[in-house]
């Protein structure tokens, strides 16, 4: 009888780790107190953790601003992106009716920035999604199966990575022509080998864990193990990496635009705006045409980087 109660009393165990490790004490406690959250509630809870990181808050504010501008561009601007005001060419910031001024063709810079944000914020995430799809596929296959599959994938990656990126882009875009789709293809090809390497490394670490052996022993397929057992546990570092890469992608799109390989004119493109403005940089009082879109690009990049920093801080702590 006593035995029985003993056995059952056991179930009141709460997770306890070593007291000797002070951080684990705090963390265990929070995880013990966390009620089970599902789906959206969990997402919001985790986002709530970002409150504690000032970097992340600033990052979110910057990103939130640009997303807002991109979504409501029509409402926030008084002019179309390609609309020319023949009464006001090359007006400086804070001039009548154009608070960021106009360019040499009389187009409202603020309008072009807002519509340009929309283009950037559509192209960059789409390109990242494609790059991650391809990168995860390559990395998982290489890391999990190893052997000749790993060799083939890694060597192909090496070849792409050893190519100077700009030349790669120029080749791709000049072959296929400048368009949003081709920018996405170029960015995907350029970024996926790097992502594949990270995923391969994470997979190598994870695949020797016992739960993977347990899955193999119960006869699970390789696909199941990669998607269900391994991928969810690689997500932490990948989310941080995605934020950083998103920033780089914004730069890349800017560079492409600057080189004239971005969106075909006259569509607004931040890189293209810098390029258009750059001819006037040396003219006194005209530098704003290049500087304003350049600030827009860097603010978006900084926003993504700060968010990545915040996410990393939080993932390290828990």
């Amino acid at each position: 009888m006593t035995e029985n109660t003993n056995e059952h009393a056991d179930v009141t165990e709460t997770p306890v780790q070593q007291v000797a490790n002070p951080t684990s004490v705090g963390d265990t406690v929070t995880s013990a107190e966390q009620p089970d959250r599902q789906g959206l509630a969990k997402l919001f809870y985790n986002l709530g953790l970002l409150r504690e990181s000032p970097a992340a808050i600033i990052g979110i504010i910057i990103l939130g601003f640009w997303v807002f501008v991109a979504v409501f561009a029509e409402l926030l601007t008084g002019y179309g992106p390609n609309e020319q005001d023949y009464t006001a060419f090359a007006q400086g910031p804070l001039s009548a009716g154009h608070w960021l001024g106009t360019d040499i063709l009389g187009r409202d810079i603020w309008s072009r920035l807002a519509y340009g944000a929309r283009a950037t914020l559509i192209i960059a995430p789409t390109a990242m999604a494609c790059a991650y799809f391809l990168g995860i596929l390559m990395g998982m296959l290489a890391g999990y199966y190893g052997g000749w599959i790993d060799n083939v994938i890694s060597r192909v990656s090496d070849i792409i990575l050893s190519f100077p990126l700009i030349i790669l882009f120029i080749v791709i875009i000049s072959v296929f022509g400048a368009s949003a789709l081709n920018i996405i293809i170029a960015v995907t090809l350029a970024a996926s080998p790097g992502i594949g390497r990270i995923v391969r490394g994470l997979t190598l670490d994870l695949r020797n864990l016992e739960y993977v052996s347990a899955a193999q022993i119960r006869g699970e397929s390789g696909l199941y193990i990669m998607i269900v057992e391994l991928l969810p546990n690689a997500r932490g570092p990948l989310i941080v990496d995605a934020c950083l890469r998103m920033g780089y992608t914004v730069i890349t799109i800017g560079i492409l635009g600057f080189l004239g390989l971005g969106l075909p004119p006259p569509d607004p493109d931040w890189g293209g705006m810098v390029s258009d403005g750059s001819v006037m940089v040396t003219v006194p009082g005209m530098a704003y045409m290049a500087i304003i879109p350049a600030i827009a690009i860097s603010s978006l990049v900084i926003g993504f980087n700060l968010l990545a920093d915040g996410l990393r801080e939080i993932s390290v702590r828990d």
Binding site: N6, G26, N233
Partner: protein, 696 residues
């Protein structure tokens, strides 16, 4: 004992020490109140389960509490001086010269990029005015003292070039170099194999005698404490609950927690049929959630509301004893009787043979493309992980495979489960030879029949999946149920069987304790109703009280399903308790196999004899014969040609052992010994374990 009154002989005195950590959620009182007094030359053991604050105390003595920890009250005085009044400079001077520490992991205590010699010399050169030559000479001498073979040579090597046991010797040598008055040892042998552990323990005892050093020995293993210490303190949840001399603590145990610890440990004489292990219910309460009164209260059988949960409970002397103290109010009322209830019916009839292994071998091929190898034409080497294994297993029995690391026991488990395939021989499992079939090619029925429980509770469950998913997947995969609701019911049943509440099915692994994770792993393995389960060191990462619960659980579930259990372990006392048959492996070969009580009595294989004499036993009344293995285990790449054990065998006969592989001899009681020494001679060996009276 006579020098007790001399106060200047006290090396370390800790009075009412309180240590707290300050974290996001506030102050965490890791150690609320701790007192300890160590005399010169004394050896004191501190035992307790993980999370009870043993290491925190050691860190406080070294003043290494980290940025968020601190001493909140009480004081530590070392050789009569309060350490809190010392300057940083003085403390640094003391650490390493007067107080030294040996850690659990030797590899992480040594710098991998410096030679052993330069690391050792640094200790002397920092603390003393000494020339490099003199320092080197003293280091070599010290290495000789720790029985390091070829010390001059070792001085020029890097840590990774010597074995784990030797690394720990270097760490001990480093700690002893400046002849400290206090040596702290935090689980110094936990990472080592039993035979190595035994030699390190002997070494610590010898050094202590030679240098008259005071030892504070921290361990969770009561058996080691018996061998090394004069006095023992039992810690629970940050406080000392009982302390006394070895004899007082083991023979006149007073505190219910100490009883509880003893009841959890399998003793050598008893197996699962004679006695059931009695786990301590519940778990150590978190430091900031300690109950009022006795912190052990919620887990104590003798808890009385109104007495045990009121106010602070002081630690008081037992009767007239100077040394024996206990922190319990009801100490005079408690009359503890160790559990004797039989664990179940005595060995059943042998069922049909489930597993029949005939001369199974597993070789790994290694290609050596070095120039020398190519010149000789020896580019291919074989690592013989398993060689000619023969044994069988009947339904419902427990077979244990024991051996030190590198003996091939885990490779064997991999071959059985199909993660690797056998190179030679056959493994007949339920009428099919599964040896050459990898798991991808096995049919579902075969996969379902053979499942596994793993060692590491943290790695065994996928942190991203809920408990319910993890068990449910097995049920779905093996086609036991297909309907979602029925799967959920079945998961509930499995949780019931491993004695966890059904609500656990929505929990994630990080919300579970180690013991709970291991229970889920058992539930997962048995969910498909397998005919054989392989358990690879399933309890070695757990605390003793949790270990007892998991062993009981494995036993019960096995009985319920009439499953064959293949129990892989290095812990001979657990093996003796749980298994019906034992297979002893060394360097990929079976040295001895037979019924478990026969293995524990003569005739012994010389290797088994050495293993048995190295097992730490938590009973001061038992005397073990002392056999220590010389040298290191040979590499599996290049095993000895004749008998695998010949290089270290204490009963080495001569040439025949080096040249000829021994035949299996079958003894009168039906167990197999692979040795050249005639059985008659092996039978005359006296038993390893004796009670004290019998020995005298």
């Amino acid at each position: 004992m006579t020098d007790q009154s001399h106060d200047d002989d006290i090396v370390l005195e800790i009075e009412n020490l309180g240590i707290s950590y300050f974290t996001r959620i506030g102050e965490i009182p890791a150690v609320p109140d701790f007192s300890l007094r160590l005399k010169r030359g004394e050896s004191y053991g501190l035992v307790g389960e993980s999370g009870c604050g043993k290491s925190t105390v050691a860190m406080a003595i070294m003043n290494y509490l980290g940025s968020n920890g601190g001493i909140v009250n009480g004081r530590i005085s070392f050789e009569g001086r309060d350490m809190s009044t010392m300057s940083e400079e003085e403390l640094r001077e003391i650490r390493g010269s007067k107080i030294a520490m040996v850690y659990q992991e030797p590899m992480s205590a040594l710098n991998p990029s410096l030679t052993i010699g330069s690391q050792l010399k640094e200790v002397l050169e920092f603390h003393e005015e000494i020339s490099s030559q003199d320092a080197a000479a003293r280091c070599v001498e010290m290495l000789r003292d720790v029985n390091m073979p070829d010390p001059e040579n070792v001085m020029n090597r890097y840590p990774h070039q010597i074995s784990g046991g030797q690394q720990q010797r270097v760490v001990i040598a480093m700690a002893m170099l400046s002849n400290p008055s206090l040596l702290l040892l935090d689980e110094p042998t936990t990472a080592l194999d039993v035979t190595v552990e035994a030699t390190v323990i002997d070494l610590i005892a010898d050094l202590r005698k030679k240098y008259n050093t005071t030892l504070l020995y921290i361990s969770h293993n009561l058996g080691l404490i018996v061998k090394v210490c004069d006095r023992v303190g039992v810690m629970y949840s940050g406080s000392m609950v009982e302390e006394g001399t070895i004899d007082e603590l083991f023979k006149q145990t007073k505190h219910p927690y100490t009883f509880g610890l003893f009841d959890c440990i399998p003793t050598l004489g008893a197996d699962k049929h004679a006695r059931k292990l009695e786990p301590i219910p519940g778990q150590v309460s978190l430091p900031h959630e300690r109950p009022p009164g006795c912190s052990f209260g919620p887990r104590c059988k003798y808890f009385k509301p109104g007495i045990c949960d009121q106010g602070h409970i002081p630690i008081e002397h037992v009767d007239t004893s100077e040394t024996h103290r206990v922190r319990c109010l009801r100490v005079d009322e408690i009359d503890h009787v160790a559990s004797t209830g039989a664990g179940g019916e005595v060995a059943r009839d042998e069922g049909e043979v489930v597993l029949d292994i005939q001369s199974m071998s597993k070789f790994y091929e290694i290609t050596d493309m070095s120039l020398a190898a190519i010149m000789k034409g020896e580019t291919r080497h074989y690592v013989k992980a398993n060689e000619h294994l023969n044994f069988n297993a009947n339904r419902g029995r427990t077979i244990a495979i024991v051996g030190e690391s590198g003996c091939g026991k885990s490779t064997f488990a991999k071959v059985l489960t199909g993660l690797e395939t056998a190179t030679e021989g056959s493994i007949m499992f339920q009428g099919t030879d599964i040896g050459p079939i990898p798991v991808q090619k096995r049919d579902q029925k075969m996969i379902r029949a053979l499942q596994m429980v793993f060692q590491n509770p943290d790695g065994t469950l996928n942190p991203s999946h809920s408990v319910g998913y993890c068990i449910g997947r097995v049920i779905k995969k093996f086609g036991i149920e297909t309907d979602a609701a029925k799967i959920r019911d079945r998961v509930g049943e499995m949780l019931d069987i491993v004695r966890l509440p059904k609500a656990f099915s929505t929990r994630k692994p990080r919300q579970l304790s180690g013991g709970q994770k291991q229970r889920i792993a058992v539930a997962r393995a048995f969910a498909g109703n397998p005919s054989m389960v392989i358990a690879d060191e399933p309890v070695s990462a757990l605390d003793v009280s949790v270990q007892a619960a998991v062993i009981n659980l494995l036993n019960d579930v096995q009985k319920q399903y009439n499953t064959t259990l293949l129990f892989i372990s290095h812990d001979l006392s657990v093996v003796r308790f749980i298994s019906d048959e034992i297979v002893v492996m060394y360097l990929g070969q079976i040295m001895e196999a037979g019924a478990s009580d026969k293995i524990f009595s003569p005739p012994y294989h010389p290797y088994t004899e050495a293993l048995l004499s190295a097992v730490p036993i938590a009973d001061p009344d038992i005397v073990q014969k002392r056999i220590r293995l010389e040298g290191e285990m040979p590499s599996v790449m290049d095993p000895p040609t004749g008998c695998r054990f010949s290089t270290r065998c204490p009963r080495y006969l001569g040439k025949i052992c080096d040249e000829k592989e021994p035949e299996n001899q079958v003894s009168a009681d039906g167990h197999i010994i692979k040795c050249h020494i005639p059985l008659a001679e092996l039978s005359e060996v006296e038993p390893i374990f004796n009670t004290k009276e019998a020995a005298e």
